[in-house]
């Protein structure tokens, strides 16, 4: 027998009210932790993807849309830029590398991304981690080869001869890890792209592509995409239909959806940013800045939700206070008996205060468990939705929350504890009720 056992016994004796108040605390704690953790982990995960390239160039429009469409394969393309623009921008001083990107098709729910083979050599995820292959290898289709072929395709005249000649080389595909796993595809299989991304319509029967490689998982949207040589996009039926030598604007299907770019160290980044944005046909964005803006917007909602969850915790603590306070009338004799056996007023105060702390602490632990379950479910949904893997681990903040809520519970318990402290033992014992 010890004080802690008395405390636990008293909590157990009021199972229903103890459980309900602990659940209220748990709800608030779980909300608070889940919201904060998911936001933080999501931001880190999205920023990790944003670091694939430092700059994206696309048609004038919304920077967030361009960023989400190019890197996260969400939403629709804002428009195209011409190959000539790509060449001009690619030749700017300070461009370390640039990769032309074409978007707009899909295969069984997975987006198809046209890129040059430099994508597999240049792009890094995380801490300087190159894209590695689980199976096979990258297709061979460099940016210069694409530029030459694009010129040939759209310089006028009959292209049918070129189409047949190019087919064997460009209808290849590299799959992200999730695509290969979820569709059970491997090297040697053939996929048939469909036109469109959100509601794919007809299949491009003329563009059957052989899987030549499967990437290792990266924890980024790369895992959910299918990469094909960018030229293949322009060889599919219905793409690049405009005729004439002039690029006719953002809706010209002969254009590029975006350029993924890395700039050299120093002032080049800002210089390129300004130069591109001074053009009438293109804009440059920094994906990491766009993501920060996005999470700043989310952050204000997040603040409201976290404030609400804190209020839930406060209300729950008041609930503990009230539930214990309501028992004081019937427990005065119990305290008097303990006093007669030698318990000091402080010991009685400690017992009641610890009861409150135990309920709050138990609720906090339960809240941490609920939060872990919620985060587990929601992080897999975020991964399914965005391809971004969230790296979540419990740490010091959760420990502080547990301690903070437990101490707050003890403080809330001081109100009924002071009632117990003030109990006149002699008076209680002399009434023989």
């Amino acid at each position: 027998m010890n004080i802690n056992k008395i405390v636990l016994r008293n909590v157990q004796r009021r199972k229903l009210s103890s459980t309900l108040t602990a659940l209220s605390v748990a709800l608030g704690v779980a909300l608070y932790i889940a919201i904060g953790t998911l936001r933080e982990a999501s931001e880190k995960g999205f920023q990790r993807t944003a670091a694939i390239c430092d700059t994206i160039v696309g048609a004038k429009g919304d920077g967030l849309q361009l960023s989400l469409n190019t890197l996260y394969h969400m939403g629709l393309s804002a428009g195209n830029i011409s190959l000539a623009s790509f060449q001009e921008i690619n030749n700017l001083d300070g461009v370390a590398w640039s990769i032309p990107v074409a978007l707009g098709d899909s295969y069984r729910g997975h987006r198809i991304v046209g890129v040059s083979s430099e994508f597999f050599e240049r792009v890094m995820v995380g801490e300087n981690q190159n894209l590695d292959f689980a199976q096979g290898e990258a297709f061979k289709h460099t940016t210069p080869e694409f530029v030459d072929a694009h010129h040939e395709l759209f310089s006028g005249g009959d292209h049918s001869h070129d189409h047949h000649q190019l087919h064997n080389n460009v209808f290849k595909a590299v799959l992200g890890a999730d695509v290969a796993r979820s569709l059970n595809l491997s090297v040697g299989d053939v996929i048939v792209p469909s036109h469109g991304v959100e509601s794919a319509t007809e299949q491009h029967g003329d563009a059957k592509s052989e899987v030549v490689g499967v990437l290792l998982a990266t924890g980024t949207p790369i895992d959910r995409a299918i990469y094909i040589p960018i030229l293949a996009y322009y060889l599919m039926e219905g793409h690049g239909v405009e005729d004439g030598p002039e690029f006719v604007g953002a809706r010209d299907a002969r254009g590029l959806s975006a350029i993924m770019m890395s700039t050299k160290a120093g002032f080049y980044r800002q210089q390129i940013f300004r130069t591109v944005n001074n053009r009438l046909d293109a804009m440059a964005i920094f994906p990491s800045v766009e993501m920060r803006k996005l999470f700043d917007i989310i952050g204000s909602g997040d603040l409201i939700l976290r404030t609400i969850s804190l209020m839930v915790v406060v209300v729950a603590l008041i609930g503990i206070l009230v539930s214990i306070y309501n028992t004081m009338g019937s427990r005065r004799k119990e305290f008097a008996v303990l006093r007669a056996m030698g318990a000091s007023r402080k010991a009685v105060l400690r017992i009641v205060s610890l009861e409150s702390a135990a309920i709050a602490g138990g609720g906090a632990v339960l809240g941490l468990v609920f939060a872990a379950l919620t985060i587990g479910v929601l992080s897999s949904q975020i991964h399914a939705f965005s391809g971004v893997s969230l790296n979540i681990s419990a740490g010091v903040p959760e420990l502080f929350i547990f301690i903070g809520v437990t101490v707050a519970g003890a403080i809330a318990g001081l109100v009924p504890a002071l009632e117990a402290y003030r109990t006149d033992a002699a008076t209680q014992l002399s009434s023989n009720a």
């Binding site: 027998m1 016994r9 007023r345 002699a426 014992l429 002399s430």
Partner: protein
């Protein structure tokens, strides 16, 4: 030894102040069994509470087990009570949420030293409750409850046992049994027993009877 000198304790309510206890001098020897008698409201319970240190005197001196209580802080009196006093109440005041064994362990909880479960088991066994250790008060007969309360009062080997109408809720058979067990404890361990009662027949069994009202 218990010694009270010039002891005075008043009771004050909204309207007036009345003297509850007023003792010029009283001495109770170690191991003595004393019955405390007096009409209702004569101050018997207050007398017990003064000796236990649960309430402090307005003036005078209380010496219990060589310790002057009036000079001690409330916390020190609490500790003194935990170490030296055993309380036995008329309605037993066993705590509902605790088994018989746990109720007896509570008697050791606030004293110096560790709670000795085996000692609590032995105490209950000596009172014939070895097969009722894990029963809750509501599962015990009145006589068994009285014996658990007695075990709780004696488990800590107190120098003084204070009993406030300990047989008031018992039939004559159980009352005799409880008093016999109380006296057995007194013989084995030499505890001083001060018992408040209205029962002359019971009082006659004690070494000495003190009428509170005659002490003034």
């Amino acid at each position: 030894m218990i010694e009270l000198k010039n002891l005075r304790k008043d009771y004050t309510n909204e309207n007036n102040t009345s003297q509850i206890v007023n003792i010029f001098h009283l001495r109770i020897e170690d191991g003595e069994k004393v019955a405390l008698m007096g009409a209702s409201g004569s101050g018997k319970t207050t007398f017990l509470n003064l000796i236990s240190g649960l309430v402090n005197a307005d003036s005078g001196e209380i010496i219990v087990a060589d310790q002057s209580l009036c000079s001690l802080s409330e916390a020190r009196r609490d500790q003194f009570r935990a170490n030296n006093i055993g309380y036995l109440f008329q309605s037993f005041h066993l705590l509902d949420g605790y088994s018989a064994l746990e109720n007896v362990e509570l008697g050791m909880l606030f004293a110096e030293g560790v709670v000795n479960r085996q000692q609590a088991i032995d105490e209950l066994s000596q009172l014939g409750l070895q097969d009722r250790l894990n029963h809750y008060p509501s599962q015990l007969s009145v006589g068994q409850q009285a014996r658990v309360a007695l075990a709780r009062a004696t488990v800590n080997r107190p120098r003084v046992i204070l009993a406030d109408e300990p047989t008031g809720a018992l039939d004559s058979s159980n009352a005799d049994e409880v008093i016999k067990l109380l006296f057995d404890h007194n013989e084995r361990h030499g505890s001083t027993i001060v018992c408040a009662t209205h029962d002359y027949e019971l009082a006659a069994k004690f070494d000495r009877t003190i009428n509170v009202s005659e002490l003034r």
